[in-house]
């Protein structure tokens, strides 16, 4: 069998016990990249030479019996909105096309400390704003299952890279569904941890109160393995959670223990907006859980439908402020011949930011403007609280909520680019989760008639990643 067919955990175990060489696995993924990525376009940059050097080091260490990390020798990809001292950190924007970060994101440091091999940086919607990776200013990424379709977004490059076996796992970021939706479209597992579980330090900010880094993997065990490495408090991120409040655990070690007395909530109102085939797949998944002994509870989430509206005020308000720093003054793109310093700002930003980014900056600026703040931003915060309340109420009745990750399977390239609102609606099931800050996972649960993967979304209460992963694993095992 081909090395690239292994899961990250299988590979790690093989490397550790000496039966597989990290260097061979690394060669294998680069072969895969060289074979397929010209078509798929998942990577913005790759580091073959350095990756092989690092892989050989790990192999040598193991040969000498020296201790190695939890991701020893596993070739991985990271979304290009995480700062790395190697390569560029572009956010798929002309603005940062040549930007080299002088520091590593905390997550990158953790991956490196765990001896992962970072083989490349993946494409995304510019500054993570989008649901199809079509907003990348640098590259077009297609869905490995059907090259006429989008991989989803904004972590489309990471999802496509994992799906096409061009890496063993990848890191993405999720502000409104940007890990889960592409995972769903590409038929891989994608976890958005609880807000505060993983440090955001070095993740280029889009919507700071919503952004969260998480893994895209081949299966749920790999997901747990990755979470073990990246989770934890970071003194550089004040919003990362104190481990006394939310203790860490060995998620991998507990992954195969089924949840006893499992209660699963479903929200019938939410099935209405989804494709029939997607709904059927979700309903079959619910049946699987029933057979496993789970009790199904039907609940209402009365404020769910306002999530998109609230999200596009809160996320854009934060984005308008977070992206103000890209001004052509200190780093990044600068216009060629500014007449004065005002033109450094206006022309640099106008020339280097894409249409969707501009749209969101304008929306957010408007929402925060004097005279509109109360009606938009403040009201959105109130809605956010109501949505949180919906989730709190749900978790009093059930261990988790199940719903589709996306109302459709992967759509055609160009299908929604002309209509931003249609694009926004594709995040209808994922956005509320970010507003509530709770963890959620997307796992494959079948295919539609076009042989496109369908994603099942499972949502748990804050810091209940343990339960979430175990519930997901129950389905994966039964499947």
């Amino acid at each position: 069998m081909n090395l690239t067919d292994l899961t990250a955990l299988q590979l790690r175990n093989g490397i550790k016990n000496g039966s597989v060489k990290s260097a061979d696995a690394t060669e294998a993924v680069f072969e895969q990249i060289e074979k397929h990525d010209a078509k798929i376009g998942a990577f913005l940059d790759t580091f073959k030479k350095d990756a092989l050097v690092k892989a050989k080091e790990i192999d040598e260490k193991i040969g000498k019996g020296e201790p190695v990390g939890a991701l020893a020798g596993v070739p991985m990809a990271v979304k290009d909105n995480m700062c790395t001292t190697f390569g560029t950190t572009t956010c798929a924007s002309k603005m940062l096309k040549n930007f080299r970060s002088p520091y590593n994101a905390t997550v990158i440091e953790k991956l490196l400390a765990a001896d992962a091999i970072i083989i490349g940086k993946t494409n995304l919607d510019e500054f993570a704003m989008g649901s199809s990776t079509e907003n990348s200013d640098l590259k077009k990424t297609v869905n490995p299952w059907d090259s006429s379709r989008v991989p989803g977004g904004s972590s489309g490059g990471s999802a496509a890279a994992v799906a096409a076996k061009m890496c063993f796992a990848a890191m993405g970021s999720d502000t409104g569904g940007s890990i889960r939706q592409p995972a769903s479209f590409c038929g891989v597992v994608g976890l958005k941890p609880t807000y505060g579980r993983v440090s955001r330090y070095g993740l280029v900010a889009y919507g700071s109160s919503l952004d969260q880094i998480g893994p895209l993997t081949k299966n749920i065990e790999d997901c747990a393995l990755m979470l073990n490495v990246i989770a934890g408090h970071d003194e550089k991120d004040s919003t990362s959670v104190d481990e006394k409040m939310a203790p860490l655990c060995d998620w991998l070690e507990k992954i195969n223990r089924p949840v006893t007395g499992l209660k699963i909530a479903v929200v019938p109102q939410l099935f209405e907006g989804a494709d029939g085939e997607v709904v059927n797949a979700i309903k079959s998944a619910v049946e699987v859980y029933k057979e496993l002994g789970a009790e199904i509870v039907e609940i209402k989430m009365p404020h769910f439908e306002y999530a998109i509206a609230a999200y596009y005020l809160i996320a854009t308000a934060e984005a308008s402020s977070n992206l103000a720093r890209y001004d052509g003054v200190h780093y990044g793109y600068r216009t060629a011949r500014p007449a004065d310093y005002i033109e450094v700002y206006t022309k640099s930003r106008n020339e280097a930011l894409g249409a969707e980014v501009k749209r969101r900056i304008m929306l957010g600026t408007y929402a925060l403007s004097s005279g509109y703040y109360d009606a938009y931003y403040l009201k959105a915060l109130k809605v956010r609280n109501l949505i949180r309340g919906d989730f709190t109420a749900a978790f009093e009745k059930a261990d988790c909520i199940i719903m589709p990750t996306s109302p459709t399977t992967a759509f055609k390239i160009g299908e929604k680019t002309a209509d931003p609102l249609q694009m926004y609606l594709s995040d209808v099931y994922t956005i509320a989760v970010n507003l509530a800050g709770v963890p959620a996972i997307s796992i494959p649960c079948g295919f539609d008639k076009n042989k496109l993967p369908i994603g099942l979304q499972i949502i748990a209460s804050a810091f209940a990643e343990d339960k979430l992963l175990r519930i997901a694993r129950m389905f994966e095992k039964a499947d």
């Binding site: 520091y103 330090y201 280029v204 550089k236 919003t239 720093r325 925060l368 004097s370």
Partner: protein, 490 residues
């Protein structure tokens, strides 16, 4: 000056740089005049992905200051982003505090020259980060130094309770004294640690009607002298403008001025109050700050006796003049040094004189504090005692003071070794006086005569005695003996 009554109305905004070790939201050290852009990191450079982390020390300094100026301390406060584009502001927003400042509704007492204390209300006290500096190095070229970016600044805003240019200056000086006492700021004007922005206007009485002149804000003043001068100038300018044009305060006609240090005039910067929209909103990268009772109590425990209270105590308790008490309390260590010497038994006036007339002069020359000259308060009290009892002269006390700085010996020992102890023994001195009178009969007669030669002759005889005792006789005792001996016959 036209014949009109007017009242000066001033409110003051003050930015005080806090003396924390590191910046407000990152670990960069605060060092003045370091190589440009050498004290920077991803956070204060505003690089992609960098996140701020609150400096707890800065918050504690802010709370301490707010307590000292009698503010109500917020139980819950937060950080807000204030958005505007300027090259010295790397994120193009400043982390500040908008609607929930750390302190509010306080007051500061300022000592006036007539001995009274004026209360000026404090509207709010909040923390924020400073911006960097734009350097215009050449024609068509500007550079940005971000060493200062992220420096913790305390913004203090008063109510418009100040009614003269002198009061503006006195408030600034008093605030400097307070923050230095608290140790929260070096408050070094040369280093720009305090910056002032007065808002000035006049309430003019003319023909039984009160007119208010348009408010002007004078930006970025960084010395007490300029602060006072600019206020004086602005009062005059507004009065002239009103008399000439009759323009009065209206919504939107606030003007912004700068100060031209060469011409010593205020210069118009912005004609109309711009409708700034800073789009404040809570910074999602930082968590709110809860100031609970326990924390507040810990901070309050750090509160020292404040300068004005100390000054008043020195006057009422120790009988010092207001001036002397003011000089001593200009600096906390000096004031405490004085206080400790008095508590160690030193006579207050004598200790004060030793400090203000001898100690401060030496300390200033050396660039030290008086308390750092190597003389313990106990020893200083002993020295003061020796002057008080006449064991040494005031002149000798200076010599002894200087010796004490390098010696562990007591002032008594030093005085002995340098032969500076005064002879006070009336019997011994009486004999010497007798000899001097005997050898100078004419002078003795002149003194006795009581006429115009008397005073000169008295001085001559005193000089003879001092010469015979090599200057060690206590002149007061000698004079007393001379008087008693030469007046006997009258």
């Amino acid at each position: 000056m036209a014949n009109v009554d007017y009242k000066i109305i001033v409110g003051l905004e003050i930015h005080v740089q806090l003396a924390t070790r590191t910046k407000m939201f990152c670990g960069c050290e605060l060092i003045f005049a370091a190589q440009p852009n050498s004290r920077v990191c991803p956070v204060c450079l505003g690089l992609p992905g960098a996140l701020p982390v609150m400096n707890r020390q800065a918050v504690e300094f802010a709370i301490l200051t707010a307590v000292a100026i009698n503010c109500k301390i917020a139980e819950f406060t937060k950080w807000d982003r204030k958005s505007y584009y300027y090259p010295d502001l790397p994120k193009n927003y400043q982390i500040s505090q908008y609607d929930l400042p750390i302190g509010s509704n306080g007051f500061i007492g300022i000592p006036l020259p007539d001995g009274k204390v004026k209360k000026v209300r404090i509207r709010r006290v909040h923390l924020e980060e400073d911006a960097g500096k734009n350097l215009h190095t050449a024609e068509n070229c500007s550079q940005v130094d971000l060493n200062r970016a992220g420096t913790p600044l305390l913004e203090i805003v008063t109510e418009p309770d100040i009614n003269s240019a002198e009061e503006v200056k006195l408030l600034a000086i008093e605030l400097q004294r307070i923050v230095r006492f608290l140790g929260v700021s070096e408050a070094d004007m040369q280093k720009g640690h305090m910056r002032f922005e007065p808002n000035v206007n006049l309430h003019i009485k003319k023909d039984d009607t009160e007119y208010k002149t348009p408010i002007t804000e004078i930006k970025n003043l960084n010395s007490f002298k300029v602060l006072e001068k600019s206020a004086v100038f602005e009062v005059r300018r507004q009065l002239d403008e009103f008399l000439e044009s009759g323009i009065v305060l209206q919504s939107g006609n606030k003007k912004t001025f700068g100060w031209d240090d060469v011409r010593e005039v205020t210069v118009l910067q912005r004609e109309k109050e711009e409708a700034h929209d800073y789009r404040y909103f809570p910074d999602p990268d930082l968590v709110p700050v809860v100031i609970n009772e326990k924390w507040l109590a810990e901070i309050k425990a750090e509160l020292c006796e404040l300068p004005l209270t100390m000054q008043e105590r020195f006057v009422s308790g120790y009988g010092l003049s207001d001036y002397d008490a003011g000089v001593l309390t200009a600096d906390r260590t000096t004031a405490e040094y004085f206080d400790n010497a008095v508590k160690a038994g030193g006579d207050a006036k004598r200790v004060c004189n030793l400090i203000t007339q001898t100690g401060l002069k030496i300390a200033n020359e050396k660039g030290y504090k008086v308390s750092e000259l190597g003389i313990s308060p106990q020893r200083l009290a002993e020295l003061a005692g020796m002057v008080e009892t006449g064991q040494i002269s005031a002149t000798a006390s200076v010599t002894i003071f200087e010796k004490m700085m390098e010696s562990k010996n007591s002032p008594q020992q030093i005085a002995e070794s340098l032969n500076l102890l005064q002879k006070n023994d009336e019997g011994e001195l009486g004999k010497i006086v007798d000899k001097v009178i005997a050898s100078n009969p004419q002078a003795a007669r002149d003194v006795k005569s009581g006429d115009k030669k008397s005073k000169k002759a008295h001085g001559f005889l005193m000089g003879q005695v001092m010469q015979k005792t090599k200057g060690t006789a206590n002149p007061q005792v000698v004079a007393k003996i001379l008087n008693s001996k030469l007046n006997k016959g009258i």
